[in-house]
């Protein structure tokens, strides 16, 4: 039995190696998109590639918003078994590029005109040392409100334009006996909401200074204190059981009408879609009050690894397909995000999608497109996680005042830099 197994596996691997002589028509793809909607979206790419004759070797590792997948990736890279591509986020791409394990897609990028169509803010992460090392798949925006329309109608609310409007709206919901704000008490959700609060409280310049440039003056300013106070105010509208809740359960509360609003990235729209809810009639998407005109983004990227020559053709095919307009449209319609290139027609997108695309374009041109610190696009992971720690400790009461929060934030970020 044992012998057979060993010989069997040995033979299997032998066969795999035997095929090395010519081009390998196969892409190996590490990702954590395992849920129905995401997998369906990715399947579009798989189909596109199979039309060109490339087999898709799936390496899905779900869990912790990509944590488990990134651990697996680190192990694979340590072993020298690079996948053709891996789903990656922001600074991680740059870290791997600095370690010299990423491939070079510049040739393809030039041919396909990525320099022009991909927003510069994304190129900061997909281009390293002048070389294209990753293909951005989408752009998510985190400064959104997702509102149940029925509840909104019931309480007679209107779109809040300022933070104070927002608070007033939440008060109305509270008075009507609805949970005003649906929040999942996990540090990344809290911090994601805080990104929007900071942008709303301090404005675009302040956000950039504090959360992209990590400017100490900004971090310890009164504006930051005010932001924490605003966050504290928002948390008072949350139901008592929020701690530890998964984000999709929070979204479900809004979908079911148990809660009025959730502050969440546009992936929440996928949940509404999956529940067969339509924008405008069942739910509403507004920019977080006081952030209209700016976009806090994050983006999923396919990092392209330095694979052996016989696998390069497949990699180029994968990258080309990823950034093709047709895939960008088809994928992002399903995923809820917007395309990573600004020249994709918005015809297939719903109202929220169309607004998202327009906002992205405007923000890109107006210089108000900022990386989300909570999502790892504002600073490297060490800093981003230190930031999430502080926000979460503030929300859950380990840190008691906004003064203390600001001190801790400066200290933590300084420590992690």
């Amino acid at each position: 039995m044992l012998r057979k197994l060993l010989i069997g596996t040995a033979l299997a691997s032998g066969l795999a190696f035997a095929a090395h002589a010519e081009d390998v028509k196969e892409v190996q793809m590490l990702h954590w998109w395992t849920s129905g909607g995401e997998a369906a979206a990715l399947n579009v790419l798989k189909e596109d590639l199979s039309k060109e004759g490339y087999a898709w070797k799936d390496v899905p590792v779900a869990g912790g918003g990509g944590d488990a997948a990134m651990t697996a990736l680190k192990a694979m890279v340590a072993a020298g078994n690079y996948p053709t591509a891996s789903q990656m986020l922001g600074y991680t791409v740059l870290d791997y590029a600095a370690a010299g394990v990423m491939g070079d897609l510049t040739e393809t990028a030039v041919k396909e005109g990525w320099d022009k169509s991909v927003p510069a803010a994304l190129q900061k992460f997909s281009v390293y040392d002048g070389k294209w090392v990753a293909a951005p798949v989408n752009v998510h925006s985190v400064n959104w409100l997702w509102i149940n329309k029925a509840v909104m109608d019931k309480i007679g609310g209107t779109e809040p334009k300022t933070f104070d409007d927002f608070v007033a709206l939440l008060d109305k919901a509270k008075a009507a006996g609805v949970i005003p704000l649906a929040l999942g008490g996990q540090n990344w959700q809290e911090a994601t909401m805080f990104d929007s609060v900071v942008l709303s409280t301090g404005g675009p310049e302040f956000y950039k200074k504090a959360f992209n440039d990590l400017d100490e003056e900004a971090l310890k300013s009164d504006t930051m204190k005010k932001s924490f106070d605003n966050l504290a105010k928002l948390v008072t509208y949350v139901d008592p059981n929020f701690s530890g809740r998964d984000w999709n359960l929070a979204t479900a509360m809004v979908i079911k009408g148990d809660a009025l609003v959730q502050v969440m990235g546009d992936w929440a729209k996928g949940e509404f879609n999956a529940a067969k809810k339509a924008p405008g009639t069942d739910f509403l998407c507004y920019r977080f009050p006081g952030t209209d005109g700016s976009v806090i983004y994050n983006s999923d990227m396919f990092g392209m690894f330095n694979v052996p020559d016989d696998r390069k053709a497949a990699q180029v095919a994968l990258a080309t397909a990823t950034l093709s307009k047709s895939f960008q449209s088809a994928f992002n319609v399903v995923k809820g995000s917007v395309p990573a290139r600004t020249d994709v027609p918005d015809t297939d997108f719903d109202a929220c999608g169309k607004k998202g695309m327009a906002d992205l374009k405007a923000a890109n041109e107006g210089g108000t497109l900022f990386g989300s610190l909570a999502q790892g696009y504002g600073a490297p992971p060490a800093v981003a996680n230190a930031y999430k720690d502080v926000v979460s400790k503030f929300v859950h009461g380990q840190i008691k005042t906004s003064d203390e929060a600001v001190t801790e934030l400066v200290k933590a970020i300084d420590d992690a830099k």
Binding site: L6, A12, G14, G36, V59, G63, A75, G80, N248
Partner: protein, 314 residues
């Protein structure tokens, strides 16, 4: 020595309070049984409910309209990554990794225990102590260096492949996982067998030597046939640990083709986008846990006997 009979306990307690005593004892045992069964109960009832009922009903309530649909879906339809063929295919992946890993680590543990008790050399306690302490290393901290070594072995495998036409399985993800589990299972298997063989009569070994049996003949003909109880304990222990391992499996499994059950299950259960099909998740979890549950239920009685026969002796 292989047959351990259960001595009949003396009744403890006076005659008057006896009935009351028994009621209290049975009551406590039943209460704790409920405590232990509760999560299993939640999982089971959930797996037979429709999504509607899960979202609107109580988690402890029995299903109003029991359905097997989630089980069929988990087995044959649910999506693991981009492949939507259920988790059935990953069973074989796990088995072809777990079986060799359990057998090899158990056999090596038996040999080590044999050497460390019956063929002692100077420093044998140090060797054993070092191997035992290895049980305590946190696996997270070996993940990367081990990956590096596995990668080198894989490249050596390619070289071998080119030179001899045969890679000896080096670089194969399943072989890698077997290797890793054997290495990090050795501490415990050695501990189990050493403690068991410690009480194994040395005179038997002497007699066999006088009879002319060699080192391996003694092991095969005398030690192994008399090791059933501890064999059961070790196999159960190793089987459970290796079957349930996620860390190594996710890091070293390579592509979906060789992905073990736990990673597939994780990919089904641990997704947080889209409508979470709790009934399918629970059914998948139950299916994934069936082999280990079966092992515990079937071999449970031998497990206690095996523990008795050596693993916990002082």
């Amino acid at each position: 020595m292989s047959v351990v009979t259960t001595p009949v306990r003396q009744d403890i307690g006076g005659t008057g309070a006896k009935t009351l005593n028994r009621i209290v004892i049975y009551g406590l045992l039943a209460l704790f049984a409920l405590f232990y069964l509760m999560p299993l109960f939640v999982m089971l009832v959930t797996s037979f409910k429709t999504m509607d009922e899960i979202q609107n009903g109580n988690m402890l309530a029995l299903p109003r309209a029991p359905t097997l649909e989630p089980w069929f879906k988990a087995w044959g339809e649910t999506c693991v990554g981009l492949t939507c063929a259920g988790i059935k295919g990953y069973f074989w992946n796990s088995i072809k990794m777990v079986v060799p890993a359990v057998l090899i680590s158990t056999l090596l543990g038996a040999l080590n225990g044999y050497v460390l008790t019956k063929w002692r050399f100077r420093g044998h306690t140090l060797v054993f102590g070092l191997m035992l302490f290895a049980c305590f290393i946190p696996f997270q901290s070996v993940l990367l260096p081990m990956a590096t070594i596995l990668g080198s072995l894989g490249r050596f495998g390619v070289t071998l492949q080119n030179a001899t036409g045969f890679s000896f399985g080096l670089g194969n993800p399943t072989v890698n996982l077997v290797f890793v589990h054997v290495v990090y299972g050795l501490g415990f298997t050695t501990l189990f067998f050493r403690n068991y063989y410690e009480a194994f009569p040395t005179e038997l070994i002497k007699a066999a030597q006088v009879d002319g049996a060699s080192f391996f003949q003694i092991f095969r003909r005398i030690m192994l046939p008399n090791s059933m109880p501890i064999f059961v304990v070790t196999v159960i222990y190793q089987f459970t640990n290796i079957w349930n391992d996620f860390l190594f499996a996710s890091a070293y499994a390579g592509t979906g083709d060789s992905m073990p059950m736990t990673v597939a299950l994780n990919n089904v259960v641990n997704t947080s986008t889209g409508v979470v099909e709790y009934n399918v998740n629970m059914a998948a979890a139950m299916i994934a846990a069936l082999p280990t549950l079966l092992v515990y239920v079937v071999a449970g009685r031998y497990f206690v006997r095996g523990l008795m026969a050596g693993a916990v002796k002082g």
